[in-house]
């Protein structure tokens, strides 16, 4: 590991750095590399990439600013941190767009070369902000462009090519400042590039590190000791990667081939990209002509006996509803993943939200029950997918998984699961033609048989028209329809019998329980734990199963005087809890396209508990 030989060091428990620059500056890459190095340094970490939907907005404009926040610590952390301690801003627009979030007195590292009249104007600064910032923050002005060009003068690179490396100069400098190992980044560069490009990136990475070692701008460097986390083998993983591996993993564990139908959409496309690389797992990916075809093909694949899935985001999820309703009617096991983003309509494609819960539950014509699951952390996306497939196949039903843009792109150290201890759900196709009826139900689960084409003697017809009980023949009889509606509802409701009891973080009863779901887990848990440490009587519940709810949820909620429901929407879960359990749930909505800050939830807890309880 690289370490400073000549300067004093200081020990810190935790640091949050935000890298910011133009969307063409390679900020996401810089953040990702810093994260990888941080993971190998043994810290706990949580990241938050935040970028515009435009591929290359005009250079130097506020609209084009891309950011990547990395929070790392020697203790257990669950969020990317409310306020960064350090802002690395490669131009004035990046400074202006991000400085408001910075902790008071925090460090700002800027590319001093980028502060000229033209770029200040483009960022909307009437006058140079540096003078004023020096009073409130620790402003470090590094002539990044000059130093970067200087470092590359031996190589025959144009100014343009040389300038494109400056993010790696900044990265090298940050590696020095926080004692991160250079090796993982060097290995990555060597595997990816060759010739002048490789040489240039290696050179500036090391030059950045050496600059930290020699400059007087940084009198000390910082050590963040390794985190004391559960022993085991770890890796860094984003939600989308874990989700993709969960899909591949379901095929392996259930010993059935996987079919993924998808149409490109932010922020779900990365799942398709990831899985398309794993043909050797027998996974078939199909890039469909549209969202409807993606769902339809997946349902066709499920009909043919595959573990079928489609991945999308809100606008695509809307388009899939009619096809999914056919899967409800024909009771076929298909998993649909909605990686939610800010809406309505196109909304803010790269920004997170949890606005599709009601859509998942009630967005189809007529009574159309469908189980709904939501992962809580990036790594949890893996396990959620295994469970989703298991429920789909056991109960012969489509299943919705609600991830979100924050979970999709953020990352955390993930304890790699031991494959031998993962569940291996049984998959049974009907093969016996004796007494076969397509809608004869399993007495335990209510599932109909999975009777796939190619099985002699099981020829039968299914479709979107109402089916007669047991035979599956088309039926318009009133009593039959009523029975079928009820059976579909009871089958999905019955999944609750197999769910584990509600887990409460904190006391099992008391003044206040905070109920959340999905990607808000880290912020809620951090806020509740902090409040408890401060002496407040507050607990939390994080729901993985949104439909059906766990059987004991109503009873558990009833043991608390108040219920607070923070959600990145206008209050959808809180309305469901009020309707289902008649509890006085109070909503804490947030609709900014940004994840919760711990302090926002904490403030509401304090307010509900009288504020002066501390």
């Amino acid at each position: 590991m690289a370490s400073s030989a000549t300067k004093p060091t200081e020990e810190l428990d935790r640091v949050a750095i935000r890298f910011a620059g133009d969307s063409g500056d390679g900020i996401q890459l810089t953040g990702t590399k810093f994260t990888e190095a941080t993971a190998l340094a043994g810290n706990d970490l949580s990241t938050f990439p935040d970028f515009p939907a435009e591929i290359r907005a005009p250079a130097g404009s506020l609209a084009g600013v891309s950011g990547f926040q990395v929070h790392f610590a020697s203790e257990d952390i669950r969020t990317p941190a409310d306020e960064p301690d350090v802002l690395v801003a490669l131009n004035p627009a990046a400074l202006r767009a991000n400085v408001g979030d910075l902790r008071g007195g925090g460090m700002i590292v800027i590319n001093a070369d980028a502060f000229n009249a033209k770029s200040l104007e483009r960022a909307g600064y009437a006058e140079d902000p540096r003078e004023e910032l020096r009073d409130r923050y620790q402003l470090v002005e590094v002539p990044l462009s000059t130093l970067n060009r200087e470092a590359l003068k031996e190589l025959k690179l144009g100014t343009r090519e040389a300038d494109r490396c400056k993010n790696f100069f900044a990265l090298g400098l940050m590696y020095w400042l926080y004692h991160r190992p250079l090796e993982p980044t060097i290995r990555w560069l060597e595997a990816r590039f060759e010739g002048d490009v490789l040489e240039a990136n290696l050179t500036v990475l090391k030059a950045g590190w050496n600059f930290g070692e020699t400059t007087e701008l940084f009198p000390v460097s910082f050590v963040i000791p390794k985190a004391k986390i559960e022993p085991g083998e770890y890796r860094n993983v984003t939600g989308n990667t874990a989700l993709a591996w969960g899909i591949v993993g379901a095929g392996v564990q259930m010993q059935r081939p996987v079919f993924l139908g998808a149409y490109p959409i932010t922020p779900a496309s990365d799942v398709l990209h990831e899985i398309a690389r794993y043909r050797h797992f027998g996974v078939k990916t199909f890039q469909a002509e549209d969202e409807i075809a993606a769902a339809s093909a997946a349902i066709g694949a499920a009909y043919a006996g595959m573990l079928a899935v489609c991945t999308t985001s809100g606008p695509g999820f809307v388009l899939k509803q009619e096809a999914l309703n056919l899967a409800v009617m024909t009771e076929l096991p298909v998993v649909v993943v909605d990686i939610q983003r800010a809406g309505p309509s196109t909304g803010m494609p790269t920004k997170t939200e949890q606005g599709d819960l009601m859509l998942a539950l009630y967005g189809r014509n007529s009574d159309s029950p469908m189980p709904v699951l939501a992962p809580a952390t990036p790594g949890d996306c893996f396990h959620t997918m295994l469970e989703a497939f298991s429920i789909a196949v056991r109960f012969m039903t489509p299943v919705v998984v609600l991830s979100d843009g924050y979970l999709a792109n953020s990352s955390e150290p993930w304890k790699i699961p031991d494959v031998d201890t993962l569940p291996r759900p049984e998959v049974r196709y009907r093969t016996d033609p004796e007494g076969f009826l397509p809608y004869e139900r399993d007495p335990e689960t209510g599932a109909r048989p999975w009777a796939i084409p190619g099985t002699p003697g099981l020829e039968h017809r299914v479709g979107g028209l109402e089916s007669e009980e047991r035979t599956g023949n088309v039926s318009y009889l009133p009593e039959n329809h009523a029975r079928m509606v009820r059976m579909r509802a009871e089958k999905v409701a019955g999944i609750a019998r197999e769910l584990p009891p509600v887990e409460v973080n904190g006391a099992k009863q008391g003044e206040l329980v905070v109920v959340g779901w999905g990607g808000t887990h880290g912020a809620i848990t951090s806020a509740v734990n902090e409040a408890r440490e401060a002496g407040l009587d507050v607990s939390s519940i994080h729901l993985r199963h949104l439909n059906p709810f766990p059987s004991d949820l109503g009873e558990v909620l009833g043991r608390f005087e108040q219920v607070l429901v923070p959600e990145l929407n206008g209050g959808q879960l809180s309305r469901l809890l009020r309707a289902e359990y008649l509890v006085p749930a109070v909503s804490l909505p947030k609709e900014q396209g940004q994840p919760f800050k711990v302090a926002e939830i904490r403030a509401r807890i304090d307010a509900l508990l009288g504020g002066d309880a501390r």
Binding site: P257, H280, F286, E289, A304, L326, I416, P453, G463
Partner: protein
């Protein structure tokens, strides 16, 4: 179950057929049921997939696997089925509304992917199940409930649509011409790739006699151009023989004496396998009243199928990387160990 012993009856389901009396679909159903046992495919490997509309009730009446899906999307469901299980014989049944209006996009993309499936498009030029609105293939000016002053849409031609999508097999046949229909179904099934078949079909309730010029046996001789590979484009009864000349892509009609040599008169020879679709387009542009209606296989060319290409990629990936190992996947890239 051995396919050798199967008969037409083995493909008749126990469901009452509920089309209107006189509907062309009855004839199509009977002929499909007749052809099925002749194809040598085990019954359990046959899947009929449909969308919504009169034609889409078809799967209920076939004693095979059947999936009656949603409006316009049958090709997408069929794609999922065929990609998953290439050994299945997958038949899509659709209509002019289902296939070319709401489902136009899926029809286009399934054809260009060239999965080895059969798509039967029943074209009656009207919406039947919703009771008589004009369809995307209806003639301009057609008066219906939704077009009381006459339809102002320009119709789409299914054959040219399929050719435009890059179809490797395109054919047209007629609901009541049993032998031609059967022959066409055989050809469609034998073609390795997407076989698109337009079946001219009569709707006796909402658009009766739309195709009378080719459905009526007597008129058919004068008005239908039977396509045979390698044969000249000749039609018409004795005493009124005619041929089709195609010059610079432009077709024209030439009168032929009964004993005239069509080739000498410049009549084109039908070739299904032209690499360029231009000839097929010219042929497909023939329409009443100026020209006869071409029926038969308009285009049949060899092209790789989607599912074969996908399987080849899977085999290549497995050969190169070995079968997938989940434990290794989860450990790919950088990992580290936290000691107890």
């Amino acid at each position: 179950m051995s396919s050798a012993v199967l008969t037409r009856k083995d493909f008749v389901s126990d469901q009452d057929v509920r089309w209107c009396p006189g509907c062309g679909d009855y004839s199509i159903l009977a002929n499909v049921q007749k052809v099925m046992p002749e194809l040598g495919v085990p019954r359990e490997n046959v899947v009929f997939v449909s969308g919504i509309g009169c034609s889409s009730r078809f799967p209920y009446y076939m004693d095979t696997f059947g999936f009656h899906t949603i409006h316009g999307r049958a090709p997408a469901f069929a794609t999922g089925i065929k990609v998953s299980r290439p050994e299945l014989s997958v038949w899509v049944v659709t209509g002019d509304g289902d296939g070319l209006s709401i489902g136009g996009n899926h029809l286009l993309h399934s054809i260009r992917r060239n999965l080895d499936i059969q798509i039967l498009l029943f074209n009656n030029r009207v919406y039947g199940l919703t009771k008589g609105q004009y369809s995307p293939t209806s003639r301009e000016g057609m008066r219906t409930k939704s077009s009381p002053d006459g339809a102002i849409d320009h119709p789409v031609d299914p054959i040219r649509f399929a050719l435009g999508a890059g179809a490797s097999f395109v054919a047209r046949t007629i609901d009541v011409d049993a032998s031609h229909l059967q022959q066409t179904l055989h050809r469609a099934h034998a073609h390795p790739g997407t076989a698109f078949v337009e079946i001219l079909q009569n709707c006796p309730v909402y658009n009766d006699d739309e195709w009378i010029e080719v459905e009526d046996r007597k008129q058919r001789i004068a008005n239908a151009l039977r396509l045979e590979d390698g044969e000249p484009l000749v039609y018409g009864p004795k005493g009124a023989r005619r041929g089709i000349r195609i010059e610079n892509g432009v077709p024209s009609v030439v009168d032929l004496a009964d004993d005239a040599d069509p080739a000498a008169a410049g009549v084109a020879l039908h070739r299904e396998s032209h690499a360029s679709p231009s000839y097929a387009f010219a042929l497909a542009s023939l329409a009443r009243p100026e020209f006869p209606v071409p029926v038969g296989v308009i285009r049949a060319v060899e092209a790789p199928t989607y599912e074969a290409a996908l399987d080849a990629q899977t085999r290549a990936a497995t050969q190169k990387r070995g079968p997938g190992d989940l434990g290794a996947l989860l450990r790919s890239g950088d990992t580290w160990t936290v000691e107890a």
